[in-house]
């Protein structure tokens, strides 16, 4: 117990640093994947056949292969195969490569959620906008968009919570997120080695984070309860 109390502040400090990296990857992914997913959704709904075919293939590839493999390929392929290490070295290079992988992968999942949300809005809404002389983009942003958001909050919440935990996959390219930080104490770091409890301890971080997210998403869902 005395040993635990001595190790605790050291571990917590380390895990905090790791969790900061986890949160950074989480937010960067959301900021990139929200708009990119919408663009992919429009691509896959396009009446221009080559475009919709192309986007559907992309979505198939990114949803059909493990994110961990995508991380490895995106990080190592340019340097090892093309001899052009575009990501740069060190933690910042790893973060950049991880961000790109996560954004594209999650945008593909989001695109399908958006598509369902948009197609779930009755066609009469668009027709009502058209006969009132609105343009297609006015109809999307002023009529369809909010109705789509209302529909997609439950499936989006699922994906967002999964994303928090998926960020741990980035340790495969040695991104120093929280699991990586916890694992360091098994191998030996800052005078602590062979300790597995720091790894168990990381669960609390995820749990608290997802608790807060659940509350926020629930509040957003409630806020949109004013219409049906």
């Amino acid at each position: 117990m005395e040993l635990f109390m001595k190790q605790l502040p050291i571990v917590v400090r380390s895990l905090n640093v790791g969790f900061l990296q986890t949160l950074k990857l989480f937010f960067v992914t959301l900021i990139g994947a929200f708009p990119l997913g919408l663009i992919i959704a429009f691509g896959s709904m396009s009446r221009f056949k080559p475009l919709s075919f192309f986007t559907r293939v992309i979505v198939w590839v990114f949803r059909g292969t493990p994110l961990m493999i995508q991380l490895l390929i995106i990080y190592y392929f340019p340097g090892l195969v093309l001899h052009n290490p575009i990501w740069g070295g060190g933690e910042s290079g790893r973060f950049l490569a991880a961000s790109v992988s996560f954004i594209v992968n999650y945008a593909c999942y989001f695109s399908e959620i958006y598509r369902g949300g948009i197609q779930g809005v009755p066609v009469g809404q668009e027709e009502a906008g058209l006969v009132l002389g609105m343009t297609k983009s006015q109809i999307f942003f002023k009529v369809t968009f909010l109705q789509m958001i209302k529909r997609i909050i439950p499936p989006m919440s699922n994906e967002i919570i999964t994303l928090v935990k998926d960020t741990s996959l980035a340790r495969i390219i040695a991104l120093q997120e929280i699991i990586w930080a916890g694992q360091a104490f098994m191998k030996g770091s800052q005078g602590i080695s062979g300790a597995i409890w720091p790894l168990f301890f990381t669960a609390i971080y995820y749990l608290v984070c997802n608790g807060i997210l659940t509350l926020l998403l629930g509040a957003l869902e409630k806020k949109l309860d004013y219409f049906r």
Binding site: Q125, E127, A128, L130, V131, L132, G133, T135, R228
Partner: protein, 259 residues
């Protein structure tokens, strides 16, 4: 000169001919009702007038101006169609109000968006906004909805929703207001409210095209009636001429309503 002229309108979906050479015209301030059984092409005709469907052939003229002509490609582009739609208003069977906006905002929205395209919008923003709001409030009051302006569609009855939808269509000041079975989704009591409003509009000499299954209403309100059957105008004329015609198909059709 008629305000609306429709000539040789044809429309097929895949290989099914829905409209076969439809011709009619309508004078300003008059009411035209289109009756006929389901699948006779009434709704498709109305949707062609509002450019929700593009006719395969034919000409549509409003006030002498050609809005659609299958042989003139300049009338067919998407951009050209948008402004032309404003000659027509359309009230849907299922209302299609925007659920996230109040009744007042539903009436104002399209006008606001259109006003933003005016060159002097930035300079007169406040004034324009007030004009649009005043007009919307007046229309809703005219629809006896003065105390319902701040309600959302789901807080309104079907009859109230449909009256908001009529106000919303009127706000764009269309030359011709079209109704696609406006009371079919309503129970008889609520149907009465909507019919009352439409009669009032007819009295104000609003030009209207009404697709309806309410036969006594059609007979009472119309200046002209078209009976459609299997994609053609089977019979047209003054209400009495159509409803009392000694014509096998319409006797059969009307017979079903009198059972």
């Amino acid at each position: 000169m008629p305000i609306l002229e429709v000539e040789h309108i044809c429309k097929s979906f895949d290989r099914t001919e829905v409209l076969k050479d439809i011709n009619f015209s309508l004078e300003k301030g008059q009411v035209l009702s289109i009756i006929g059984s389901s699948g006779s092409g009434k709704t498709t005709l109305l949707r062609c007038l509002n450019f929700l469907e593009r006719p395969d052939r034919g000409v549509i003229r409003v006030d002498g101006k050609t809005l659609f002509d299958d042989s003139d490609p300049t009338t067919l582009s998407e951009g050209a169609v948008r402004k032309k739609r404003l000659h027509f208003g359309l009230v849907f069977q299922s209302f299609n109000l925007f659920p996230q906006y109040t009744a007042l905002k539903n009436v104002m929205l399209a006008r606001e968006l259109l006003a933003k395209e005016q060159p002097d919008y930035k300079a007169r923003k406040k004034e324009i906004q007030e004009e649009i709001q005043a007009q919307a409030k007046e229309l809703l009051t005219q629809m006896s909805l003065a105390d319902r302006m701040d309600n959302y569609p789901h807080q309104l009855s079907g009859g109230q929703c449909q009256r908001v939808a009529i106000a919303r269509a009127l706000a764009m000041e269309p030359d011709i207001l079209c109704f696609d079975e406006p009371t079919s989704a309503l129970d008889p009591e609520l149907t009465g409210e909507v019919i009352k409003v439409m009669k009032e509009l007819a009295k104000q000499k609003k030009t209207m095209v009404i697709v309806t299954h309410e036969m006594s209403f059609a007979r009472e309100i119309s200046d002209q009636v078209i009976f459609m059957d299997k994609g053609v105008v089977a019979l047209s004329g003054k209400p009495d001429e159509v409803f009392d015609a000694d014509h096998a198909r319409i006797r059969e059709f009307l017979g079903k309503y009198n059972q």
